[in-house]
Symmetry: C2
Subunit: 388 residues, 2 copies
Amino acid sequence: MRDVAVIGIGVTQFGELWDHSFRQVGIQAGLEAVYDANLSGSEIDAMYIGNMSSGRFIDQHHIGALIADYSGLASHNVPSTRIEAAGASGSLAFRQGVMAVASGMHDVVVVGGAEKMTDVSDEASNFILNSAADQQWESMMGATFASLHAMIARRFIHEGYATREQIASVAVKNHLHGALNPKAQFQRPIKLDTVLRSPMVADPLTMFDCSPISDGAAAVVLCPLDKAYEYTDNPVKVLGTGQASDTLALYQRGDICSFNATKVATRMALEIADLTVKDVDLVEVHDDYTISELLALEDMGFFARGEAGKAVESGETELTGSIPVNTSGGLKARGNPIGATGVAQIVELVAQLRGDADKRQVKGAQVGMAQSIGGTGSTAVISILGAI
Amino acid sequence: MRDVAVIGIGVTQFGELWDHSFRQVGIQAGLEAVYDANLSGSEIDAMYIGNMSSGRFIDQHHIGALIADYSGLASHNVPSTRIEAAGASGSLAFRQGVMAVASGMHDVVVVGGAEKMTDVSDEASNFILNSAADQQWESMMGATFASLHAMIARRFIHEGYATREQIASVAVKNHLHGALNPKAQFQRPIKLDTVLRSPMVADPLTMFDCSPISDGAAAVVLCPLDKAYEYTDNPVKVLGTGQASDTLALYQRGDICSFNATKVATRMALEIADLTVKDVDLVEVHDDYTISELLALEDMGFFARGEAGKAVESGETELTGSIPVNTSGGLKARGNPIGATGVAQIVELVAQLRGDADKRQVKGAQVGMAQSIGGTGSTAVISILGAI
């Protein structure tokens, strides 16, 4: 397989974008990435679009064709494929795009992720989010996505793997980073007390433990590494990707304090990249809930079991710490337009590895890693990128 | 890229399967394909699932993980990816699966397609089907999927490309074939008068011009050609695939009597296969409406413009004709569980190329071709398979 490079990135403002349609955010991110890659539309060979539920959020299926059309690419009949794996939709679209270039099937591929979540009621969006879990055996029985994560958090605390305060400190750290990201939904630092005293969602998780409902889109452009310098002076190399699944329902797992799919996908990606986690300089993880970040960091091997909470609390995962985590602000502060999230992680890594991350730049960043989750660890996708 | 073979096929009964759940049909087709390939579950490296709208039909997203889980593959953490492109979801999943094997990323890949459409009201299913068209500029303005195809049919007749009777004869021919397929939703031959005198849906298209609402699933197993004989004595080779997009809305096309995406995808697939349509022995096309079959046959180059209707009327596309079309019964008679449709086409081609198609066997079939459409020609996928 051929080596693959990221040659362009684009991301919209994340937030409650009531004055923007799905089509508008999707195209905006794509165009930004295409301009960044110094491409013209006619050079694009294929598109992959990550999206969880345009069918419910905006009553529109078939958004692969929609985005290609509204990007002005219908006249070139560009193949466009939509990928869905709940929260991992965007990262999985990225993995399929990498495969399309690596295989030699296509040369220049645009990977986009988009979601417009605020055009439906909170009730409707909760119903949609719950359909990433097992509708038949979880959601219909009253389990919400937040309550499933609350159960994980309770068990985590019960086992002594982290304190409530350590879990909450994930939100504090990610808001700190979000304050440095002009595209983030929330750009204000918060205190530990803000998290602990905010309204309870599912005990022990409060509002500030949960990622928000968001609109937004992100896009990247891929091409074979050996052609990358024809387009840009600062390509970033895709070092490896991994993907794994697990049971859809949480109750079927042996251990709910760990996501096995993350472990397997991490192993797969590191093996392809021929690296260990010690080689990684920064990580974007899927902090849909604060507790998820601790599981991610331990499952990926950055910390031993029961150590991630302490590390976050002591500042080790801050921008200036030994392993900066979610420099973008993460799903928590940057926002979580579901289909866009996995692609936005890649955008952040590329910005960092190019040295373009401004106030949140990790000094000397050479290798970045992203972890993305669908459901409660039912799908995991890992991507590893490297500066050249 | 590596050569790819189909080593196993499975398909459920298509129809109104009120006593089967989505999970059940999905697994049934998958297991049948895996048994047919003489595989054990632990040998499966990845899955691709085509599905249009489980999110609306059964309130469940994330069905890649669901199907992997219920197939007993969660313990192996098998990567599983859902693909959606409206009516072309299944064929596009097949194309992604082929790419995954061809690239060397995975060895043994199961491609499944499934849809459970009869658990919602007719009103709801119409709403869902219309969301494959442009919700903002077509569906919301009152255009239904049937009415868009009726406009195509009227223009086709107006231009003198076919008569009303020739369009209707597509249904007669496909019901004739469906009667020979024990898995088909409709297994009774019909007469031309049945079509012409059945209730009007959108003038000139009547009920018998339209494919039905269906439940069902289909699956195939892929592996590298050079490993195929380790599993089976009768592998079928994937000779080429193609994919293209066009505007989402029909009104934006220059000519509505032809789908440009079909033309482009056909060219792409034939070029990879190094064949012309004259080498093709049988075709499965996307006859969601009778008129669509005529467009398909002319766009793919089997007949010159205005000739397909005559050919169908004269029996040229029957089982015993010069180019048998939709020997399975097509979407019209076999049924159209949307996500399953594209994979079921591949299942039919493989059965034919193996010589296993019983009463509907095309004698000496060596090369088969499938055409699949999402929306009104907004996505087209072409697959070409060959006997070895």
